[in-house]
């Protein structure tokens, strides 16, 4: 029996190195590591919430954020008043701020390249409730949040200074959240991040070699396999072959689309259902861990890839759910390799339920 077969069957055994096809990154699947003792007992997700009485995202404290960009309201049509379901505000402590088209600057003989921090940094307050995570919200409400993402993506791509939009959620203090109230961030950056470029190149290479989209092929191959987590009519949830994190889950649209903003109303409902299922299984199987939700998609500026009109044909957006079950250690920083103590096939079996 090869180590790959061992992994395939989800049995515990020796460790195995797996390579991620797109990034080339090696992941060490090392079940033995799960047996380690840990004397840092206090390194646990915080359970005390100190901010309920002063949370700037709670209903009734609309004045404590910058004026809203937009909101879904059932009751009041007045901006920055109570009565909303989902609300979007500029980040009060932005990593990037709007400005004119940035010009790159090179110094020290080309060693140092910089750019002014021009861009967009918004916060989507997912719900007026201080402690209802996505997993606790009705499917329709999650659909509304996803619909707001789509609206913001359509609006932000009109800004010609933005090349890439990253939507992400940090749930819990160990995922890097600074406020507990459920929220999602949208960052529009004036560059195409290197990691995104590298994935685009790998996807393009695959398309050139095989004539098709990598993810369309993956969905077909994995549909009935040991890494499937849930298959729906419009979306599929999979444990990646080279998962970096325990219970890592990727949610992919069956319909080939490069950008999230191309999602239809009907698909948004399917996606909301899928996200609720995945997050609810994760909570049950992995003791309610902190996690990130990360959107991966094509750059918004088509001109970002001069001379290549085929971007739409080989990029396929996805959502990654990345549980925080351990902290990033020196080995990961030194090598870019990850150590994952849970065999992806075992994770998928547990999450399938």
């Amino acid at each position: 029996m090869t180590s790959a077969e061992r992994g395939e069957n989800g049995e515990r055994g020796g460790s195995e190195l797996r390579r991620d096809f797109l990034s080339g990154r090696w992941v060490l699947i090392a079940p033995e590591r799960a047996r380690r003792p840990n004397d840092f007992q206090s390194v646990r997700a915080p359970t005390i919430d100190v901010s309920r009485t002063s949370c700037p995202f709670c209903e009734g404290r609309e004045a404590e954020t910058p004026p809203e960009v937009e909101a879904l309201r059932d009751e009041s049509p007045v901006p920055d008043s109570a009565g909303w379901r989902v609300r979007v505000v500029p980040n009060k402590f932005p990593a990037l701020t709007p400005g004119p088209e940035p010009t790159p600057e090179k110094r020290a003989g080309g060693l140092f390249e910089s750019l002014p921090g021009t861009g967009v940094h918004e916060v989507v307050v997912d719900t007026p409730d201080h402690d209802r995570e996505w997993v606790d919200l009705p499917v329709d409400h999650i659909r509304d949040v996803l619909g707001i993402f789509r609206r913001r993506l359509r609006a932000i791509e009109q800004d010609s200074t933005i090349q890439y939009v990253q939507i992400f959620k940090n749930k819990g203090g160990f995922a890097g959240a600074s406020l507990r109230h459920p929220h999602t961030q949208i960052l529009g950056v004036p560059v195409v991040p290197q990691q995104v470029w590298e994935e685009l190149s790998a996807l393009e290479h695959h398309a050139r070699e095989s004539g098709g989209c990598f993810f369309c092929r993956l969905i077909k191959d994995e549909e009935a396999g040991p890494r499937r987590i849930r298959t729906g009519p419009d979306f599929i949830a999979l444990a990646p072959y080279a998962s970096r994190f325990p219970y890592e889950t990727h949610v992919l649209p069956r319909r080939h689309t490069a950008l999230f903003r191309e999602t239809t109303d009907e698909e948004l409902i399917g996606l909301a259902r899928m996200m609720k299922f995945v997050l609810s299984r994760l909570r049950d199987v992995a003791s309610d861990p902190d996690y990130h939700i990360v959107l991966r998609q094509a750059p918004v500026t088509r001109g970002a890839r001069p001379g290549d009109p085929r971007l739409d044909s080989f990029v396929h957006w996805r959502i990654e759910v990345l549980p925080v079950m351990g902290l990033v250690a020196g080995f990961e920083w030194g090598t870019g390799c990850f150590i994952n103590p849970i065999v992806p096939e075992s994770a998928a079996a547990a999450l399938r339920g």
Copy 2:
């Protein structure tokens, strides 16, 4: 005033994007983010140590680890007995274990590549004292630990199945350490990690274009500049231009060498002094944060780069000190970009003292 000049002068202001020359990674230097409130008050480095009474790395409990690989002993020459200063043992919960030359396996039409987890995973117990970090140890003792690293690197490279050796230290629970007792890990892996390959390619490209080593040039350029932290006779400590983390520090040997194991006895003392200075300033300036120490060097298998005998000419080893001042968030996972709220020139000025 350009944003680059703002950064150069270490002033607070708008944010700036900086690109790391070797990796192409963008870093967002965003001083505004340092003003954020944080309601996850309990996300702090743990201060309670629950393991002192049962720590497997403490003197007198040598039987609780696998038999030692080697040790520096003043008193007893008997292995696995008390009386040591530095001790090396196999990791009890190894991510990799020794085995025959691994053969890669490709499946699913080349999408899935795997390799048995063959390799070496050792733990260097830095000191018999349960809570004396490097910063608390005498320079001679740090020199001894570094000397043990050199010995292990020389021994491990004899193993033809190993292509890359990663030495790293996780100090504190937020750096991913599972045990408090000061220790360092050595992982010998049967592949050259993708991130290492990519850096090698960038270094080779620089050497081809400019005729020299990137780091030799960097040392010359940065020697008297605003990012210098300390300049010694054999080593220099710098804040990287595109630092990912607040107070990130890189320690470089002045003498061009590709592998740590080529370090001389005299250089080891200089390095021990430099590490003690850097860690002690970090403790004072940044409230004693958790951190990683990570060695970056050439692959050990020269044959790993077929047809390229010039590896030694363009690779220059370094040690990275990576403070854990915040947690990795969804934006970083989605884009590979980092957000750093401390301007590197300000960090260097503070660390210089």
